[in-house]
């Protein structure tokens, strides 16, 4: 905004910024992060080709790590955006439901054995069962929110509290390990392909949601319900059902994310898997400039937000920040980002600028 000279130009510029604000914040944040890394250490962006233990070529490097690790978050951000837009609230149970989804996968594949030699069921069956279970839990949340009119955060607090316990219960608190190598493909590398599989899964999810938003009325209805449920009803939309269905979709996203999580290590620890991921997912939505009170949303901005968060995390690691102290730095960055992007702060800055600017123009005139 340094090139602003007169009032008119200024307002035009802010208007432009306003219309593009949704994508502007995450992209700007991403650019800043890239710049910081370029100045600090250009080798941050180096991508190396190596071989893994089985002798297949794999790509490694910070960028690949970011793309790989952000996959689950990006997938969750898709569902979280819809839920936020439709119900004006957030689902805080996703981390716990991921634990349940993972537990179900393990239960189906391992049966009751701790370390089965052969899988008890085809992987696709396990995936489908996990999808169904997650969608049921999503439906539970959705029903509470849509039909019982409970605030989303409170309704999902139930599963947040119980989720990890239910996950432990499903497997009788045992932690089975899957030894079948083909199961690990989904969270690591498929032999012969050098890019981690979760990246492809995330991209597939994005393409699917893009197609759904483009060719169905889901996006439009979701926004209209989020902006005003009463007028949506008058227009023939069933607001309860739309809210309900967004939670079911989030359940599906959770299932995919949970499946990737299990596949990464061939097992999961119920109490720590995907811990605090719900907070990151909500953050991704907020960083994308979406109002957490519902209404209009930009899916692309949310997904970008997810990658920004992972980029930030990886950047902080390269600055040798201790992993347990990481949240403090993250918080500072988040607050700066959010404050800078808030309309009130912008107005105040614009006023400040106006105070400074006339002085400058006066000087120039002299």
């Amino acid at each position: 905004m340094t090139s602003v000279k007169s009032k008119q130009q200024g307002s035009v510029l802010t208007q432009k910024l306003h219309s593009k604000r949704q994508l502007f914040i995450p992209i700007a944040a991403l650019l800043v992060l890239i710049l910081v890394n370029l100045i600090n250490d250009p080798s941050f962006f180096a991508i190396k080709v190596g071989t893994n233990s089985t002798g297949d070529p794999v790509l490694s490097g910070n960028l690949i790590t970011i793309l790989d690790n952000a996959s689950e978050l990006a997938i969750l951000a898709i569902g979280m955006t819809l839920v936020t837009a439709a119900s004006g609230g957030q689902d805080i149970s996703v981390g716990a439901t991921i634990a349940i989804a993972g537990s179900v996968v393990l239960r189906v594949l391992c049966g009751t054995e701790a370390r089965p030699e052969t899988l008890q069921a085809p992987i696709i069956v396990a995936f489908l069962v996990c999808c169904v279970v997650s969608m049921l839990f999503g439906a539970f949340n959705g029903a509470l929110v849509a039909y019982f009119k409970i605030q989303p955060m409170v309704a999902t607090l139930i599963l947040y509290t119980a989720g990890r316990s239910i996950a432990a219960w499903i497997n009788n608190n045992a932690l089975p390990i899957i030894s079948e190598p083909s199961f690990a493909y989904y969270g690591n590398f498929i032999p012969g392909i050098a890019i981690p599989t979760p990246v492809f899964i995330a991209i597939a999810c994005m393409i699917i949601i893009a197609l759904v938003l483009k060719f169905t009325t889901l996006g439009l209805y979701t926004q209209s319900v989020g902006i005003n449920p009463h007028s949506s009803r008058l227009n023939g939309i069933n607001p309860e059902f739309i809210k309900f269905i967004t939670y079911v979709i989030l359940g599906l996203c959770v299932a995919v994310a949970g499946f990737i999580k299990v596949s990464r290590f061939s097992t999961i620890n119920y109490s720590v898997v995907a811990k605090d991921i719900e907070m990151d997912a909500i953050l991704a939505v907020a960083l994308g400039g979406n109002a957490l009170s519902g209404g209009k949303f930009s899916m692309a901005a949310s997904i970008l937000g997810a990658y920004v968060i992972q980029f930030l995390t990886t950047t902080l690691y390269t600055f040798k920040v201790d992993s347990s102290a990481l949240p403090a730095y993250k918080a500072v960055v988040v607050i700066i980002l959010v404050v800078l992007s808030s309309p009130v702060a912008r107005e105040k800055m614009a006023k400040l600028w106006k105070k400074v600017a006339p002085a400058k123009t006066a000087k120039e005139a002299n």
Partner: protein, 348 residues
């Protein structure tokens, strides 16, 4: 809070009293608590018959009561504060380091706890109220910040050995007439810790604040409808700021009370306390949408939450997951009851 009785003599308009949402929800909470506790006394016997069991619930959850009170305050104005749990850990760790490594006194530790609360309140309150950023995001950042800061202050758990602090920690206040006779035939008086006194004071003060002061009524007004509150001449921003400020200060006090109970500093202290506080507030009849809530209800919320935990563990369901599942089921039942009651009431 009863509506004026109708004095029209023509038969149709019979005198009627209606209760506010706040009172209905409070009544449900207290009723459920009493039923639960009586059932526990009747069916489970032994442990629950001793008054000390009840006082132990208070002793263990004094900090949670304070945190929940702050949470209710914020929730009544329509906001939320999820930073209180990790703030408690930060206060514990800071005070522990201050007492043991920096040679501080108990008084300065209390000061430190309050200072952390005040600073947090000022920053979070300002950003939420005056920069109009969603409280969830701001306090989420606050939560992350406190979590990281705790490990920066000190990464390991350690027990405090400071003498003055230990003396304060072990101070027990006897409750008259409610002791019990143990197996050896000696009389053991029932006791509470200092934290409980602090917590009860907080409950009483906040109850008075919400009930009888201008500021207290302004909290409800802002939570109920910001625009109409504004039109009534209430300074909405200042009210919101004060709510978040008070909540953070209470979290500072609660953090010290927690510290007084556990006597150690650890990054994992009070993890998930924010969710417990929210759950307790909800069980106590406070609604996240704002405008409805009661501090007394919150008190009963905390107590009911922990009574059910005690009941589950005394039923012999040892597996760790049962506690969480029952608590979740209880929250669920409460929410559905509340929702049904309010929906039916609004239909009338």
């Amino acid at each position: 809070m009863s509506a004026p009785n109708s004095k029209v003599k023509a038969g149709r308009l019979t005198p009627r009293t209606s209760m506010s949402d706040t009172n209905i929800l409070l009544l449900i909470t207290i009723l459920v608590f009493v039923v639960m506790y009586v059932a526990a006394v009747v069916f489970l016997g032994s442990g629950f018959r001793k008054p000390q069991t009840f006082f132990n619930i208070l002793n263990e959850n004094a900090a949670l009561i304070i945190l929940s009170c702050g949470m209710s305050l914020v929730m009544i104005t329509g906001g939320i504060d999820i930073s209180v749990g990790t703030m408690t850990a930060l206060v514990c760790m800071s005070c522990a380091v201050h007492l043991d490594y920096q040679g501080g006194s108990v008084a300065s530790a209390v000061g430190l706890a309050l200072l952390i609360g005040v600073l947090y309140g000022l920053v979070q309150g300002y950003i939420i109220a005056y920069l109009e950023i969603q409280p969830f995001i701001v306090t989420l950042a606050g939560m992350f910040f406190a979590k990281g800061m705790t490990t920066i202050v000190n990464a390991d758990q350690f027990n405090v050995v400071h003498e003055g602090f230990q003396a304060l920690k072990l101070t027990r206040i006897d409750v008259p007439f409610l002791g019990s006779v143990n197996k050896l035939g000696t009389y053991v008086p029932a006791y509470v810790e200092i934290g409980v006194i602090v917590a009860l004071l907080v409950v009483i003060l906040l109850f008075c604040l919400l009930r009888w002061t201008k500021l207290g009524r302004a909290f409800y007004a802002v939570g109920g409808n910001q625009q109409s509150a504004n039109m009534l001449g209430i300074n909405v921003k200042r009210t919101k700021f004060l709510a978040h400020f008070l909540c953070s200060v209470l979290a500072g006090i609660g953090g010290f009370v927690y510290f007084l109970h556990v006597g150690s500093g650890s990054p994992s202290h009070a993890s998930g306390a924010e969710m417990n506080a929210i759950a307790a507030s909800i069980i106590g009849g406070t609604m996240l949408t704002g405008g409805v809530g009661n501090i007394i209800g919150t008190f009963f919320g905390v107590v009911s939450l922990n009574t059910i935990k005690n009941i589950v563990s005394s039923l012999g369901l040892d597996e760790a997951w049962w506690t969480n599942i029952t608590v979740a089921a209880m929250i669920c039942i409460f929410l559905v009851i509340q929702s049904v009651v309010l929906m039916r009431k609004n239909k009338k």
